[in-house]
Amino acid sequence: MTIFQFILWSVLKVAVVTVVMLLAVAYTVLLERKLVGRIQNRWGPSRVGPFGLLQPLVDGAKSFLKEDIIPAGVYRPLYLIAPIIALGCALISIAVVPFGEPVSVAGSPHLFQISDVNIGLLVILGVTSIGVYGIALAGWSSNNKYSLLGALRSSAQLVSYELALGLSLVGVVLRAGSLNLRVIVEQQATQGMLTWNIFGGMQFVAFFIYLTAAYAETNRSPFDLPEAESELTGGYHTEYSSMKFAMFFMAEYANMITVGCVATLLFFGGWTSPFGDLIPPPQSMLVHALFPIFWFVLKVFCFLFLYVWVRGTLPRFRYDQLMNFGWRWLLPLAMLNIVAISLWLAYR
């Protein structure tokens, strides 16, 4: 494969994945509004299109057409670049996620993954850890006490929970012996559901630590302290309007989707079928290639559903509770989990 073919394929894959990702973000917002509506005993959006299905398009148009207000006291360069950092980092991390089996057509590289890197898992962690600057700079440059408090809370929360998050993934890496997401999935796929990391791989503690820490990392309820409406009006994006606000909003949902993808890949067997070889492989090439995508999307959807369910159910933590929980419970638990998993792997 020449370098031009490589660039062409990469651009194509990036374009497709970005479009799909942005569409998914738009419809995750709708999913959340619908589900939270049902949880609170109301209908949610139902006016635009059948079942409110066109609501995201109208919301997007509204964000574009709204007046873009830049307050007088802001520090302009950082104020303008902060939403770009937030959304950029949220979208970049999807680049290493494999959506389906490595299929290649006509000399192309893997069709369902933008780039298959050896350290895919760490790349996701690294990009997410850069993403915090979007929030921190937005809060600081807004020159508003609520924004600043939101940004400070967010940076402290992210630094604290990143440790537990990273440590919870060590068990998975130990079992797979690789940081490559494709290898991690393939190693879980031997016996269907039984060998998924969460069941056969004895990673259920790690899974719950990961899920809790990831909810805190994405600033989602019950850890949405950085934008607690009752205390901070809007948190770090108080001073943002129009498309800039929409960019933070999209970044949050894109991060949710990434967390869903990573949880699926690491603990729930990625694109593999839960029934293993019980279902005979389909004859048609196309179905054979698309079946894994179906499982992957289904699993990620379940995680997004869970996100909304948790938001509709649990009250917000208090700030000291958040810090206590992160440092005194989650972190030691994650370390004990590593020791336990290592012993299990050594003596099984």
Binding site: L78, I119, L122, I130, Y133, W140, L148, L152, S155
Partner: protein, 173 residues
């Protein structure tokens, strides 16, 4: 290809470092430092050190610099003041840094028996790196981690000690 990437990111790195020194506001300097660190990570990657590259991004650009910006935001530090001393520092400091760097470069270039790393070298996998770390370099590796542990304990002791003393003082009053 490797050479083009090297030139681009080495350029980013230098530009970031110079910008860091020239900026008046601490938050801009901190952000330039992030640019320096991430472009250094790319240079590591070009030399085939994938784990080092991503560790650089996660640990330095991600965690440590967040704390830097955190402190800048918390103290609400403004533009730095220019005094006579800082002007002297600028005049004397730059030539001094150039002299020291030149000296280090000369010493390294004249050293014998150093390994050679080329831009087009293959990737050293994380498994290979950890194998070396946990066999050949086990003692220095563990000693470093103990050193960091001591630093953590020291920080906790300092912070905790201060708090208890403040409470004692309150009790006395």
């Amino acid at each position: 290809m490797h050479l083009i990437l090297f030139l681009v990111f080495a350029g980013f790195c230098l530009a970031g470092a110079i910008n860091l020194l020239l900026q008046g506001h601490p938050i801009n300097s901190a952000l330039s430092l992030i640019v320096v660190m991430t472009s250094l990570a790319v240079l590591y990657l070009l030399l085939g050190a994938e784990f080092l590259a991503i560790a650089q991004v996660i640990v330095y650009a991600g965690a440590i610099m967040v704390l830097f910006t955190f402190v800048v935001m918390l103290l609400n530090a403004g533009r730095e003041e220019r005094t006579m001393g800082s002007r002297v520092g600028g005049v004397v400091g730059f030539p001094a840094v150039v002299a020291i760097l030149a000296m280090i470069a000369i010493v390294i270039l004249h050293m014998q028996g150093l390994g050679v790393a080329r831009l087009s070298d293959g990737i050293t996998s994380t498994a290979e790196l950890s194998a070396v770390l946990f066999t050949k370099l086990l003692l220095p590796f563990e000693v470093t981690s103990v050193l960091i542990l001591i630093a953590i304990l020291g920080a906790v002791a300092l912070a905790g000690h201060d708090g208890s003393k403040a409470e004692e003082r309150k009790g006395e009053q």
